[in-house]
Amino acid sequence: MTTQTMPAPPNPHATLRPLPWRRMAWVAWRQHRLALAGVVAVFGAPAVYLLISGLPLHHAYAAVTACRPAGSATCRQVAQNFLNAHVHGVLVTAGLLQAIPALIGAFVGAPVLAREFETGTFRYAWTQGFGRTRWTIAKLAPLATAVTVAAAAFSVLFSWYYQPIIGAGGGDSSPLAPTIFDLRGVALPAWTLAAFAIGALAGILIRRVTPAMFATLAVWVGLAVLTGAYLRPHYEASLVTHNANAPADALVINQGLSRGGKPASLDMINQTLRPVGVEAITAEVFRAGPSTPAGFGDPMQYLTAHGYTQSTTYQPASRFWPFQWIEGSWLLALSLLLIATTVWRVRRRAT
């Protein structure tokens, strides 16, 4: 051993001061600038589209807001015409935008670690002086922040884009409806962060880029669908109304007829309707028969007169923000848990 390497026998308990984090900044930037460009593209292209189509939408909406006297039949018609013309296109756009978090998870989150395994470069990276645990954190944290911030900015833009639809009465769509709720407020950044975290964990568990991407898509879609269908409607106890018309902007969970406090079966309803020759196809859709008296009117009124009550279980639109915070919170907690698990796997991992 020469003098250079052996000034004193190293103390096994001596701890070296870790290398400063900023050393990793250049590394993370140099390695992931393409991924960051991808993030800009994934959010930027739809953002440009939202701006281009949002301006005429707001222009058209100006006619609705300018209508006086507000609330008059004429103005309601103006609003309805506006919705008829635009709501379909807006909802299709919103449907397509659902893909954004999934794309971020698959194309940004999954390859971060999976590519290191696929190419074997983890054996270079993890044997440098920086240490693999901090190396992983220094890569995941800036990327997670970047995708979350980009998604937050995008959700502001989408809210602006969607504002005229809400202002004009919302059409048939509630702000709590699945494809709208998760593009606004804190839900979009939270879902995007969750997708990124799912991708990162899938990357280290699967260690191959393409399978990890598909796994990320599958898990994210599963989580989003289950949340929209089963979880979100139950963030708070739902409300029930027996009024025939539930608020138009509410998220309807369940609608049905009951008699004597018990849910009415289709058979019961059909028996009641037989004298007037009307057939109930579902509890809401009816078909008049040849024996139905002319000018029979609304079968629902007939049923109400025969002891039926209509009950609608729903979440009012006013719960939009509480629900946003609930969803944002648990998704944030889940994302942090997934990222912590990823870091732990890197730390623990044996080749």
């Binding site: 020469t2 390497t5 190293p10 701890t15 070296l16 250049w26 002086g129 044996a350």
Partner: protein, 304 residues
């Protein structure tokens, strides 16, 4: 100080042991050849030593007692993995920059001068370098870290004979100039015979022979004599491997000392390193494991 010290080290992958009961104490300042057939556990042992893998059993420390994979260990060990993985889309200059950022010490001037000398353009991406240049770049990055221990896993697999020579010359220069200890693996002993002064022979997951090359050569002899007497002598000697002809028998014997008398009527010849390694590899039961920092095993099994 031991550059690597393993006690009862074992690594199990999905129920099968890639390495087991590995006990080693390699002193600092050597060029260590880790030799064994494919699948003998060489890469596993190296991964454990550099902290990429965690042991299933036993312990391994490096650089005089540092746990493998600890901060101090990472700091003092430069590892060039098999197939020399580098980021293909990064240029040589970027790889230099990255390695400098990720380590406490990095001799940028040395690295640039060496790449210049090798004719490796700084702007070319690692993916576009030839196999030889790629390996040289990986070695340059490792050497520029000024490690105490350089670990190379099958470093010459991708190189043609001329590039192998250049590669080993660079390693040996670092040994001479900076006193770096080197641990390099290969399944071809001939590659390392000229440079290594310490040999670790691995076979089916266990260490079969370990020691300084000079000691190993000095303690083994080939005895040639009458085949009729062979069995009689074999009982008294530590025979590693026996080769018998019609009339003559060749016994590769581990001597208990250089002065051990040769039986009457027999001739003793020195043994070459390759001959020695092959003899041990042919006899999985034989083992020669010196080392003061560990329990000396029973003298090698008598095998014929």
């Amino acid at each position: 100080m031991n550059i690597i010290e393993a006690r009862g080290l074992g690594k199990c992958y999905g129920g099968s042991w890639a390495l087991r009961e590995c006990t080693l104490a390699i002193p600092t300042g050597h060029v260590v050849a880790l030799v064994g057939p494919n699948g003998a556990g060489k890469t596993t042992l190296l991964n454990l030593a550099v902290g990429l893998a965690a042991p299933t059993a036993g312990t391994v420390t490096v650089l005089g007692g540092q746990p493998a994979g600890s901060g101090a260990a990472l700091d003092g060990i430069a590892f060039v993995a098999q197939d020399t993985p580098l980021y293909k889309n990064l240029s040589a200059a970027d790889m230099l920059h990255m390695t400098r950022n990720l380590n406490r010490r990095f001799d940028d001037g040395y690295a640039r001068a060496r790449l210049d000398e090798l004719g490796i353009p700084l702007k070319r991406t690692a993916g576009k370098l030839s196999g030889g240049q790629h390996t040289q770049l990986a070695l340059t990055l490792a050497l520029a870290r000024r490690p105490q221990l350089l670990v190379l896993d099958e470093p010459m697999a991708m190189l043609d004979p001329l590039a192998r020579h250049d590669f080993m010359a660079a390693v040996m220069t670092a040994v001479a100039d900076h006193g770096v200890s080197v641990l390099l693996s290969s399944h071809v002993l001939a590659e390392l015979e000229r440079v290594a002064d310490y040999l670790v022979l691995l076979s089916s997951g266990s260490v079969q022979m370990a020691g300084e090359v000079d000691d190993l050569l000095a303690s083994h002899r080939v005895l040639t004599g009458s085949a009729a007497d062979a069995d009689r002598y074999a009982e008294r000697l530590n025979v590693v491997h026996a080769r018998r002809g019609e009339a003559q028998a060749h016994l590769l014997v581990r001597m208990n000392g250089a002065t051990e008398p040769v039986p009457h009527g027999w001739e003793a010849h020195p043994v070459s390193l390759e001959e020695l390694a092959l003899a041990y590899l042919r006899e999985p039961g034989a083992a020669a494991l010196p080392g003061p920092a560990r329990d000396r095993p029973q003298p090698s099994e008598l095998t014929t």
